[in-house]
Amino acid sequence: MSSDYQYHKSLNWEPEDLFSKYSFTQLITTSDARLLGLKGMLLALIMLAIGGAMAMTMRVELMEPGIQFIGPKPYINAVTLHGLIMVLAYSVPFATAALYFILPTTLGLDGIKSPWAAHMSFLTLILGGVLLFISRPDFTWSFYAPLSLRVAGDIVWMAHIAIILVGISEFLGGIPLLRTALAWKKKTGGRWIDMPLSGWGALTGGLFLLLSAPMLSLVGFIMLTDYLEISAIFEPARGGDALTFLFMSWFYGHPAVYLPLVPLIAVLYHMLPRLLGRNLWSHMSGVIAFSALFLVGFGVWVHHFQPNFTVHSLLNFFFQFMTMLIIVPSSLHVFNWVASMWQGRISHETRATIPFKFIAGAVFMIIVGGVNGYLNGNIAVDTDFIHNTYWLPAHFHAMFLGFIGMMSMAVFYSIYPFVTGRMFNQTLANLHFWLWLPGIFSQVMLMFWLGLTYHPRWVVDYLPLPEWVTGQFWLSIAGFVNGLGFLIFVINILVSARWGKAVTGDPWPVPDTSMADQAVVQPAE
């Protein structure tokens, strides 16, 4: 059985220093799945550093009301680049790269299929990122037309091309995921439901990428032709319609949030039994949750601009209900993880392991950020205090920073000994975790509070209302705490790669608690 602990236990790489084993050119050009994954993750972490620097700039400016350090234009440049980088250049590439890394091992294959697509995806993303930085857009990460056709100066077309390239990059990045999952079926001939959950993540994650990313490229292309005045599809001044833009761009934009989520859930399903030292609570539950999330995930995108006045109210109701329904498959995942932890003793060794701490933090944050999806989908409440107040950033920071950020750290810390042959410094890593957990939690809570007090998004300056001033001040402090945690992480991984303790054998030895289970298990049936 694929969720079997013994199976996961056998999935181990030998700790080795890949960086000294291969030359730089080999690291870049080889089609080895682990190296492909590693270079994707490293690029994503560089992007995380850049996006984080943007966040720190914003937090310094927002610490007090008024405009102190940077004006509205550089501020909105920072906001735009922060959003675009964190979603498109950090979260999605990191999650897909992490899955490239583990897939061949968990599915028992020689490597990932179509590595050329992974290479091309990597290169296209770099090209798109460079164009984005040069054009310095100021139309926020959701680039609403017609605003995005008119601002950012004479080189805004570069940003439009960058959007096209990012769409192509994500499409290409999805090909290896889907094909590798299909290759498992071809090789083993097993039933679909027996496929390891990492394979299910690759299957649904790959389909998410392949089906949604072309729309992003199309939106970018139409923005370009609209800007060049070849067409006027999004430009209301020349006969177009901004609603067309909203419908098209969110058709990508909503599934886009599952692009990093699904692969990292898959990685969590791989890591959790391994670290707990026993079987997952239920394999079947994970299969159902992945499939249901995929099916529901494509039917919710209109909630980003609800209520929609040009469709029947029943359709609005449908999208509202589907949005709230997302909580069912997501909570099936969480239920499975919590039940797996509940099932037996968690050994001291597991508890002390850095990846396990980050996994626990990620599950905590997905509960915090996930339950308020129940409220967000609700048109009545959405029209009251949710739409474009700080409540919304609170929700997606709990998910992106809380779950995806924490999970990516869990992944990176756990593969670190396998790719450097050395162990990172435990004290610094613990410090990183204990800065991030309270930092992210209080950041998210303060954002919720600001949302409840109707603080608008995307503002460089705000009215000196007492609740806003206090909220923003402590929000900045929480942001700096997270920034400090990341800085410690960077120092740790750089220094330990050279001077860390060399490891051989299994770097994550945890006792087998599956036997202990049987001794205490009281079947409730």
């Binding site: 006045f309 037996g344 409440v381 109707y454 298990v521």
Partner: protein
């Protein structure tokens, strides 16, 4: 919906459900992490869990829809709105609203146009407890129209007219009106004031 001071209304119960779900989830996780685990959760429990969540979800969507339908039932229908676009000639039942105004959103401010053609910039004067119908419109980019004190947000795309109504706060004073969609470099300055003036109105008058 007689009292549109925020669409939150009956949704407080949903807020409570959300908090309960969150606390239950976190508590379950903490118990699993920090107390010695004991047994394997039966599979039937997850089925019950999923069914409960699905039922709570459907119920919540129905409650929300009822609130929204109730609110919109007071707003004039779409055919009438199509005639309004840009013009101030609005055919609305005079009894339904105490004041009808067109809000014109542009980069970066608000103009409120009264039916008689007079206009105010960045200030909307209303009487306490009045029912006010606002036809929100924009001509350049997507804007948002939010009055935090009455708990109402309306997003308007260029050339469209979105009608929204609210009941003015009963306490005289200045209340914030703000733009909720990023609309360019002056977005943070795009604010106006809802000025509630004069004597407080008799509550019985509007039932």
């Amino acid at each position: 919906m007689q009292n549109a001071l925020g669409l939150m209304g009956e949704q407080y119960i949903l807020f409570g459900i959300m908090l309960a779900l969150g606390f239950a989830g976190i508590a379950a996780m903490f118990f699993a992490l920090f107390t010695p685990g004991r047994w394997k959760v039966p599979y039937s429990m997850e089925v019950i869990f999923a069914l409960v969540i699905a039922a709570v979800t459907f119920g919540g969507a129905l409650v929300s829809q009822a609130t929204v339908d109730d609110y919109w039932s007071d707003v004039p229908n779409i055919e009438e709105l199509a005639k309004v676009s840009g013009k101030v000639a609005i055919d609305v039942d005079a009894d339904a609203f105490d004041k009808v105004v067109t809000a014109y959103l542009y980069q970066w401010g608000f103009i409120f146009i009264n039916p008689d053609g007079s206009a105010t910039r960045n200030a909307l004067a209303v009487k306490p407890g009045e029912r006010v119908l606002v036809h929100v419109t924009a001509n350049d980019v997507i804007h948002g129209f939010q009055i935090p004190a009455v708990g109402l947000t309306t997003e308007v795309d260029p050339k469209a007219v979105r009608s929204t109504w609210f009941r003015a706060p009963s306490k005289p004073g200045k209340y914030l009106i703000q733009c909720m969609d990023y609309c360019g470099i002056g977005h943070h300055q795009m604010k106006a004031w809802l000025v509630v003036e004069g004597e407080e109105k008799d509550e019985g008058e509007h039932g």
